[in-house]
């Protein structure tokens, strides 16, 4: 019995291979979209982590000497006290014309070592004992080919160009700096109960590895992708729900017949459930392959970004991560089950002899619409409540989910209302019929249209967020990073020497000196600045008292960052206590993206007067931009500064912009894909409605409307639905962007971004939506145009 019933169930697919293909493809596309985003996100994170770990060790914290090098004895003392630290000796050496950066590490304790391309050659004795070995990229090895005095080279793809990674003993010899250590990496796993560093090594200071800024930028990239992943999941879920639901509807008659022929409801339900699972797995696997492909196509862009950022070649290839496979399959199966539960329950409860519901477009649909009209706002309200009650990032995402789902549920009643309104206004008979027909078809297209709505809203929302982010951030970069070069000295003494050396060679040397301080009860920093046009002209002030800069210059005024101003209500006119017996009036507030802490800016003399021993090791250099690279090179050579000590501002900006460009490429590609999938859902729905449509179309045709006209109307119909949905998606997308920028971003990073609107993008999107609608209707329309009259006549001849 089961075999026979299963045969009957499956025979449907054999007779309708097209339907089978669309169902599987629909599920597969949804899975593909979801998993592609997952894969890119996971891969990008892994790549960042790898790249960051390669250069700094993933320790995150480093110990540096307040002046000069760290003696080997200090390292040993820390170790003997239990501190898990790893020594790094860094320096430059000249090889003929080129300069080579030597990175000496202790292979036994350094957290990450590169893989060599010639593993056989890595005899540990050869690496650790004189003359040692240098790990370099193939290109660097090429450049060093004729260097006679260097240890043999081992090539690896995992390093930046111009860097030689080697054992610290080899580095000592090459740099002639025996017993010296540049910095100590603080390893992540420290035993409990260690003696404090201040007591063990008072000459060392703890700082973060210099990749904080980059990390914040990459965080924005991930936030973007995460939001996208979530939204694509919602789109995917609707599509899966739609396709799976339709597969039930199509076979309603067959289910009845099977029941009438004596198949128990339980067995039928189980069979249908089994079929659903099998389909979900098949489609899920297919989707994974597709998603993998999509990710593989997009990933090189991500990899290119990383390359630009770190100067380190990062693999553009994709590794199959079990978590990724699981999430993709889970999405397919979970989505299909979620969608199928409704259908399966229907099958289980279906009366054998129900009148074949001609088209559930009237009463039932109207009631369903009312339910949705109520559930939609309820969900939105739930989201708002979640933000209020749960709060934080979770609350933000719940708000996002509530808004999106609620809006999707509101779509059918809204569309029905709009169509009814249009029907009342329409005068032409064709227009009237078109609108009436549209309303009648709405229930069958609802899910596809919801998917389209979400896809479009996602497009608007994420697009607006990324664009706003970029606009704001590049503007801020221009304002804050005005100096052409930033220099980090290793000690105050070197700082003073640098300043003397630089002064005659540049337009201005702007010392960047700060003291850690408690500002309004929270940790923060007080910066001292010299009075210079660079600040007056460029600093991103968002609120200012008149003559603010003069007040700062004469030490009576202080500038605070937006975070501090917002948190403590410190706007111009208020007074801020900077320290014991040190108060100043707030004369301006500036934006300070990427910094979670409080910050204040005072005149340099004021800072030096109130805080003793303010380090003087950072400088901004004003110089003609084209001269900056030469000066940087001279500076490195003259003071033997490591690579990270001289930062070319143009490079920082270029790296930041590169991230956004790539974010754009990836976002745009995913957007088009999402739209494509939603368009595909419309196509599937239209094709499914096809058989049900003939009884609607045939009488109209019999009454003298040509098939050509009917085909045209078919396209118009789809265009109208897509267009209306796009119009409704626009406000939803803007709300979404607002939530992303004002709620998610604020909770995730602590600063708010202004929202910029891009109406041209909307027009492009409307066009895309219309295109998707037209493409989806193209196939049914062509079919209608070519339909033999005999097929239309069957409507009249055959019993329905």
């Amino acid at each position: 019995m089961i075999a026979a019933a299963l045969g009957a169930l499956l025979s449907h697919w054999r007779r309708q291979p097209g339907q089978f293909a669309t169902l599987v493809l629909g599920l597969a596309l949804a899975t593909a979209l979801w998993s592609a985003v997952q894969a890119i996100n996971a891969e990008a994170r892994a790549s960042y982590a790898r790249a960051a770990a390669q250069l700094g060790g993933d320790a995150g914290l480093v110990l540096k000497a307040r002046s000069g090098a760290i003696p080997l004895a200090t390292y040993v003392a820390l170790r003997r006290a239990g501190w898990q630290v790893s020594p790094v000796l860094e320096g430059r050496t000249r090889i003929g014309q080129t300069s080579l950066r030597i990175l000496g590490v202790d292979g036994l304790t350094y957290p990450v070592m590169p893989a060599s391309e010639t593993t056989d050659a890595t005899d540990p004795a050869a690496i650790l004992l004189p003359p040692g070995r240098l790990f370099v990229t193939p290109a660097t090895a090429e450049a060093l080919a004729n260097a006679p005095d260097l240890p043999p080279r081992i090539t690896t793809p995992d390093l930046p160009e111009g860097v030689a990674l080697t054992d610290i003993g080899t580095a000592e010899r090459l740099l002639a700096r025996t017993g010296e250590i540049t910095r100590l990496l603080v390893l992540p796993d420290q035993p409990a109960g260690l003696p404090p560093l201040s007591q063990l090594a008072p000459d060392l200071e703890l700082s973060e590895t210099g990749q904080g800024d980059v990390a914040r930028l990459t965080d924005s990239f991930h936030l973007n992708l995460t939001a996208f992943g979530l939204l694509s999941f919602a789109v995917g879920l609707f599509i899966v729900h739609g396709t799976a639901g339709l597969a039930f509807e199509q076979r309603r008659a067959m289910f009845r017949t099977l029941r009438a022929l004596g198949l128990p409801a339980r067995t039928l339900t189980l069979l249908v459930l089994g079929e659903l699972l099998a389909l979900a797995l098949l489609s899920g696997l297919l989707g994974l392959v597709l998603g993998y492909f999509v990710a593989a196509v997009l990933l090189p862009d991500v990899a290119a970004t990383l390359r630009g950022l770190y100067g380190a070649p990062v693999e553009g290839g994709l590794t199959l991560r079990p978590a990724w496979v699981a999430s993709g399959l889970g999405m397919a199966v979970g989505g299909a089950l979620l969608a199928g539960v409704q259908g399966v329950v229907k099958v289980a409860r279906m009366p054998i002899l129900a009148a074949p519901g001609l088209l559930a477009w009237s009463g039932a649909a109207r009631r369903g619409r009312w339910r949705m009209a109520l559930a939609g706002p309820a969900l939105m309200l739930g989201g708002v409540l979640a933000l209020w009650q749960v709060g934080g990032l979770l609350g933000g995402f719940m708000l996002l989910g509530g808004l999106m789902l609620g809006a999707a549920l509101l779509l059918p009643p809204l569309l029905a209302g709009l169509l009814a309104l249009g029907g009342r206004c329409a005068t032409g008979v064709t227009g009237q019929w078109l609108l009436a027909d549209l309303r009648a078809q709405l229930p069958g297209l609802t899910l596809a249209l919801m998917a389209l709505l979400l896809a479009l809203a996602t497009n608007v929302g994420v697009g607006t967020m990324v664009s706003s982010f970029r606009l704001t951030f590049t503007g801020w970069l221009d304002q804050r990073l005005t100096s052409e070069l930033y220099i980090y000295a290793e000690s105050d003494r070197q700082g003073a020497a640098l300043e003397d050396w630089l002064r005659p060679r540049t337009e201005a040397v702007l010392p960047i000196r700060y003291a850690e301080a408690e500002l309004a009860g929270a940790p923060g920093r007080i910066y001292g600045i010299v009075d210079h046009a660079t600040y007056r002209d460029n600093w991103p002030i968002i609120a200012a008292a008149p003559g603010g800069w003069d007040r700062v210059a004469d030490s009576t005024g202080v500038l605070v960052n937006e975070q501090l101003a917002r948190r403590e209500g410190l706007w111009p006119g208020t007074t801020l206590t900077l320290g014991p017996g040190w108060q100043a009036e707030v004369v301006g507030v500036y934006s300070d993206y990427g910094n979670p802490n409080a910050q204040a800016i005072v005149a340099m003399p004021a800072l030096l007067a109130h805080v003793p021993n303010v380090p003087n090791r950072q400088f901004g250099i004003r110089i003609a931009p084209e001269k900056a690279p030469t000066l940087a090179a001279e500076l490195r050579a003259a003071f033997d500064l490591p690579e990270t000590s001289v930062v070319d501002n143009a490079a920082v900006k270029a790296a930041s912009l590169a991230i956004f460009e790539k974010t754009f490429v990836v976002t745009a590609a995913l957007n088009v894909l999402t739209l494509g999938v939603a368009g595909f859902a419309i196509l599937t729905s239209l094709l499914t409605l096809w058989t049900m449509r003939l009884p609607h179309v045939a009488p109209v045709w019999a009454m003298g409307m040509t098939r050509k006209a009917l085909a045209r109307i078919e396209i118009l119909r789809s265009l109208a639905l897509a267009g209306l949905t796009a119009l409704l998606a626009l406000p939803l997308g803007l709300v979404l962007a607002k939530v992303l920028l004002d709620v998610i971003n604020v909770t995730a990073f602590g600063w708010q971004l202004p929202m910029y609107l891009f109406p041209l993008d909307w027009l492009r999107l409307l066009a895309l939506a219309l295109l998707a609608g037209a493409l989806a209707a193209a196939l049914p329309a062509t079919r209608l145009r070519r339909l033999p009259p005999a097929d239309l006549l069957k409507v009249f001849a055959h019993e329905r």
Binding site: V76, G82, Q84, A115, I127, L128, Q190
Partner: protein, 347 residues
């Protein structure tokens, strides 16, 4: 830490690289000193390091009982592995050091590992006064020789601080401390102090526990103790309630297993038993870290009327170190009752 790094680190430790035999102990001893059967051990000098040999270890295990009545075990091991047969100052030293510490309870097993370069003072061993250390882990003499020791180590989630007092003489294993490890004549210098009384404190995530028990120190150095066909060993140190002790091991060899044993009387006098006198047989295999490891054994030493079952206190005592192995306390039942330690490598 990624797998590549691990691979490189293993390469950095040639004495323990998985090149041939377990952890590469079967490699040829070019330039390194070879154990000499004529050599007579002399103390305190031989408590210190022997840089001219490729590998060496200071290996202490203890079976303990807590105030709470529960059984515990601890391990403290310092390995020395030489890239070349000499010592030098600074980073140029070819001597590499590695330390393992473990704390075993009936249901938990804590492991920590430390690595260091020789020559810079981060790790080393001095003979008199005796001190073996790596980072802040120490085995330090509180009296001349190694009669009284203080022992400490800590990992992320555990630590211990113990004092040890020897209750008997040193035991020279094999022939006057020359211990043969295969029929081809591979051998090591090997002596033990099997009779420490131990007291001290273990610190677990739940808090400190005062403990007392028995400790056993093994000292061994060589340049190639394993033959190329040997895949690993099963090593037992057992203390019986009657005061006798036994050290026994089996070297698993494709050309037939090799067993050896030393019987130690309550007064501390030792008798080396001939090859094959001890028979060991795995009874129960447990799934540990994705592989099958025997955690219950039958040991027979007919010459001493010994026929016992040896059962792991915690079958999951897997050492998740750079080269993984099994090491943990055991309980002895049968003709003799008692406690001991079991080490199994190459599974």
């Amino acid at each position: 830490m990624n797998a590549r790094l691990l691979a490189l680190l293993l390469l950095c430790l040639p004495g323990f690289a998985t090149a041939q035999g377990f952890a590469g102990l079967g490699t040829d001893a070019q330039g390194f000193a070879v154990p000499d059967p004529a050599h007579r051990l002399s103390f305190p000098a031989d408590h210190g390091a022997h840089p001219e040999f490729r590998i060496e270890w200071w290996y202490l295990t203890a079976t303990l009982t807590g105030e709470d009545g529960r059984d515990y075990g601890i391990q403290w091991t310092l390995f020395r592995s030489a890239l070349a047969p000499y010592e030098a100052e600074g980073w140029a030293s070819p001597q590499l050091w590695m330390a393992h510490a473990a704390l075993t309870t009936p249901d938990r097993h804590f492991v920590a590992e430390r690595r260091a370069r020789g020559g810079i003072g981060q790790a080393g061993v001095s003979a008199e006064p005796f001190l073996a250390y790596l980072d802040d882990w120490e085995m330090r003499a509180t009296a001349p020789g190694i009669v009284a020791l203080s022992l400490s180590a800590r990992g992320q989630d555990f630590s211990y601080a113990l004092t040890l007092e020897a209750q008997g003489p040193l035991v020279l294993q094999g022939d006057q401390g020359y211990s043969v490890k295969s029929r081809d004549g591979h051998a090591s210098h090997y002596y033990s102090q099997p009779a420490y009384d131990v007291t001290g404190t273990l610190t677990l995530p739940d808090g400190p526990v005062r403990v007392t028990g028995q400790g056993w120190l093994d000292r061994e150095w060589s340049s190639q103790p394993l033959s190329g066909t040997q895949s690993g060993w099963d090593w037992f140190s057992l203390s019986f309630e009657g005061g006798e002790k036994m050290m026994g091991f089996r070297l698993r060899d494709t050309a037939g297993d090799f067993t050896a044993a030393t019987w130690i009387s309550p007064d501390g006098s030792a008798e080396a038993l001939p090859e094959g006198a001890l028979s060991v047989e795995p009874l129960t295999t447990s799934q540990v870290a994705g592989r099958g490891v025997p955690t219950r054994w039958r040991l027979d030493l007919p010459a001493k009327g010994l026929s016992v079952d040896v059962t792991a206190l915690n079958p999951q005592a897997w050492m998740t170190t750079s080269f993984p192995y099994w090491e943990g306390p055991v309980t002895i039942t049968g003709s003799h009752a008692g406690k001991g330690y079991l080490e199994m490598t190459g599974y």
